[in-house]
């Protein structure tokens, strides 16, 4: 009875002394399931590759929970070295100067050179300061792409649409053949934020919120957006589009079961979908409206970035910089890309995966990165809006009401605009 216990204690003491020599840093994240396991694997790779630093990843639940824990810990002076913050929470952390050390500064101070150009186009701006300096280090990056049920298309004899006009033309045929033509999983990210990006339309004043928090106004009543949602509602009424609530998986399920022909998902869904999809599938770019002038620009990244929290000793910051450096190396990027389906964020990693023939084997894995690398426009770089998680909640609520038939598209978008602008004004006060 005592033997295994004391042995365990001995092993514990040994491992403690082993890591005593190294500088310990912590990394809080909001990933679960397979993606959480991959984070542990990345950390282990880092710890095995060198002896000076030891990183410990800690899962804090969802993205929102990770951000809330990080904030609470910061206020108590117990912040981790690295905090993963999701796209919608970027404004919260970036507008709190002093909470983080910009990733670029951290890396250059540690004696490395930092080359912004090494990163692919679509990830370069989202977590950066207005002057282009990287504040957060992009980590798990994804793009909204369209997954295609190849069997359905072959049966009906149509091609995957590039534009929504093409989709409208083939939807009746798909419906006739017994398929639900279209489902999506996140109207906020896929049909709002990236709608503005894909069509190169301004999303908010003050340069999409990047320049200042003061008097930033959101452009939810843009006629093009009104048109998009009017179409979606009409498609839903016709049976061309299915909406199953704000939950991601409830909508994805239709595609997994092979009942839906197209599903707008995330490039990061690729890994999981390979296991769950009942039918063969491929992927293509998020469609756009050909009728909107200047449309067809790239989308910006979704997902999350890593932020180096301030108030940590020099030695630990050096380790954080080492880890960021390690993370952006082509080999680690390629490993992460292939293990999760999130896109490779550096050009070198993309070239490496390409040269090894990964995309020949799995063409769907390349779609996300290609979409991020499409030509960019003035308004396809991202947005920075305060209290954005709450604004998304308002959108989810009103979008739900549209499809439940409780409100009209115009009223819903107007309500979102009013309430979102109130929140933005509130945020300007907290950050001011």
């Amino acid at each position: 009875m005592f033997k295994p216990l004391s042995l365990a204690g001995f092993a514990l003491a040994m491992s403690a002394t082993a890591s005593m020599a190294a500088t310990n840093i912590t990394w809080w994240h909001g990933m679960a399931g397979r993606n959480g396991e991959v984070i542990n694997e990345v950390a282990k790779k880092f710890n095995d590759a060198q002896t000076a630093c030891a990183i410990t990843p800690v899962s804090k639940g969802t993205y929102e929970e990770a951000l809330a824990s990080g904030i609470a810990a910061f206020r108590a002076g117990e912040q981790p070295n690295i905090l993963q913050v999701f796209d919608a929470g970027a404004a919260t952390i970036i507008n709190a100067p002093g909470a983080v050390i910009p990733a670029e500064d951290l890396i250059t101070q540690a004696g490395y050179t930092f080359d912004r150009e090494a990163f692919i186009e679509g990830v370069r701006y989202f977590y950066a300061a207005p002057d282009g300096k990287f504040v957060g280090m992009p980590f798990n990056s994804s793009a909204p792409i369209m997954y295609v049920n190849t069997e359905a298309l072959e049966k009906v004899g149509v091609e995957a649409p590039k534009t929504w006009e093409e989709f409208e033309a083939i939807a009746p045929k798909l419906k006739e053949a017994g398929y639900l033509p279209l489902v999506q999983s996140q109207l906020t990210w896929q049909f709002t934020e990236n709608f503005f990006s894909r069509h190169n339309i301004q999303f908010a004043t003050n340069n999409n919120g990047y320049d200042s928090v003061v008097d930033t106004k959101i452009n939810m009543t843009d006629p093009n957006l009104v048109m998009m949602f009017t179409k979606l509602k009409a498609w839903a009424d016709e049976g061309y589009f299915g909406y199953y609530g704000a939950g991601w998986n409830d909508n994805q399920k239709l595609f997994e079961d092979g009942k839906a022909a197209f599903w707008i998902g995330s490039s990061g869904s690729f890994g999981g979908l390979q296991k769950t999809a009942q039918k063969p599938f491929s992927a293509t770019f998020l469609p756009y409206w050909n009728s909107i002038q200047g449309a067809g620009t790239n989308t910006f990244i979704g997902g999350a970035a890593l932020f180096a929290m301030s108030g940590k000793p020099e030695a630990e910051n050096k380790c954080t910089a080492d880890f960021f450096q390690f993370l952006t190396s082509p080999e680690v990027q390629k490993f992460y890309h292939e293990a999760t389906g999130y896109v490779a964020i550096t050009k070198a990693a993309y070239e490496l995966a390409k040269s090894e023939g990964y995309y020949k084997e799995k063409p769907a894995a390349e779609v996300g990165i290609q979409q991020l690398m499409l030509k960019s426009g003035d308004w396809s770089k991202g947005y920075r809006l305060g209290f954005y998680p709450q604004i998304r909640e308002i959108m989810e609520r009103e979008y739900g009401r549209i499809f439940a038939g409780e409100t009209s598209v115009e009223d819903a978008l107007k309500t979102i605009e009013t309430e979102a602008n109130d929140l933005l004004a509130r945020f300007a006060k907290t950050a001011g």
Binding site: T62, E64, E65, L67, A68, I71, F74, R75, G89, T92, I93, N95, A96, P97, G98, A99, Y243, Y244, G245, A246, G247, D250, K253, L254, F387, P389, Q390, E393, E396, R397, E398, Y399, G400, R401, F403, A404, E406, E419, D422, R426, K429, T430, A431, G432
Partner: protein, 293 residues
């Protein structure tokens, strides 16, 4: 008669000190902090805060969304309290009357209470799942196209059903023990005087159960207001969207998801006041009608 008394006047304070310390740390201190931060607009990381007076309260109470959540909370609380007490009482009275195998019935009925709210929510979520839920398929037999997570009323129905189901055993235990504390002599006397079981229940059993029922009324209301959080959280799957939520869930969404500390503090102070008023009201007006032995 010898009076039992502490030798030192300070000793009793020492005895209640641990309890007071816990209440202070986990209730009074956070409450004071919530009241304080409800008057400020603060950036989440705590770098600066601006005094805004009552504007957080004005914003919350003036918002149409907040008002509709408040209305739902009232309906939700009333229904969950009434239904779970009603079913609990019905089952307890019936189980009390069973002679053979009564402990089996009781155990089976109490069982559900061992389920944690999030687990209950998860089970509810599966039962009411849009694609695979057996209850959704059952409803479809009657032509009810139930869309939990999409249709406001359907989601409300599912939430109330799961919350009530979860709370029935709790009420059952208390009412059953209340029933069993009614002396046999009183029951027999009532049985001789009156043949109708229903009438005996209303005129004899229910008044004698009043202290228990009053206690349960308060407990059930707090359950519906606060403890159903886990059920709601699981059932809306982290995305409230256009689904109904209660005021507590709104506090959580704004404070912990939206990082709006001032706004969510103001909301939690409003909730504190509501609970305070409710409790005072209950003790002043309802408890007077309750007769303790």
């Amino acid at each position: 008669m010898k009076r039992v008394q502490f030798s030192s006047p300070y000793l009793p304070y020492l005895f209640i000190a641990p309890q007071m310390a816990i209440i202070f740390v986990f209730f009074y201190w956070p409450s004071v902090q919530a009241i304080q931060s409800s008057f400020y607009l603060e950036d989440p990381f705590g770098f600066g805060s601006t005094f805004v007076g009552l504007s957080n309260y004005v914003d919350a109470l003036g918002s149409a969304q907040y008002q509709s959540i408040a209305r739902f909370t009232v309906v939700f609380t009333a229904l969950v309290t009434f239904l779970s007490l009603g079913f609990g009482m019905l089952l307890a009275v019936k189980a009390d009357a069973v002679l053979k195998g009564s402990s089996t019935y009781k155990t089976l009925l109490i069982w559900v209470y061992a389920i944690a709210p999030p687990v209950a929510g998860l089970m509810g979520m599966m039962f009411f799942d849009q694609h695979i839920g057996p209850l959704v398929k059952f409803a479809a037999l009657f032509g009810w196209d139930m869309k939990v997570g999409l249709n406001y009323n359907d989601t409300a129905f599912a939430m109330i059903a799961v919350s009530v189901w979860k709370q029935i055993p709790y009420n059952f235990i208390f009412i059953l023990s209340g029933l069993q504390s009614i002396p046999v002599s009183v029951r027999e006397a009532a049985a001789i005087d009156c043949r109708s079981g229903v009438r005996r229940f209303w005129t004899m059993t229910l008044p004698l159960l009043a202290p228990t029922a009053f206690f349960l009324l308060i407990i059930n209301m707090t359950y519906a207001l606060f403890d159903t959080f886990g059920v709601i959280d699981v059932m809306v799957k982290d995305k409230a969207a256009n689904n109904p939520i209660t005021l507590v869930y709104k506090v959580y969404m704004d404070g912990f998801r939206g990082n709006d500390l001032g706004g969510s503090s103001a909301q939690s102070v409003i909730l504190m006041i509501v609970v305070f008023v409710l409790t005072v009201f209950q003790f002043r007006f309802i408890e007077r009608r309750v007769h303790y032995n």
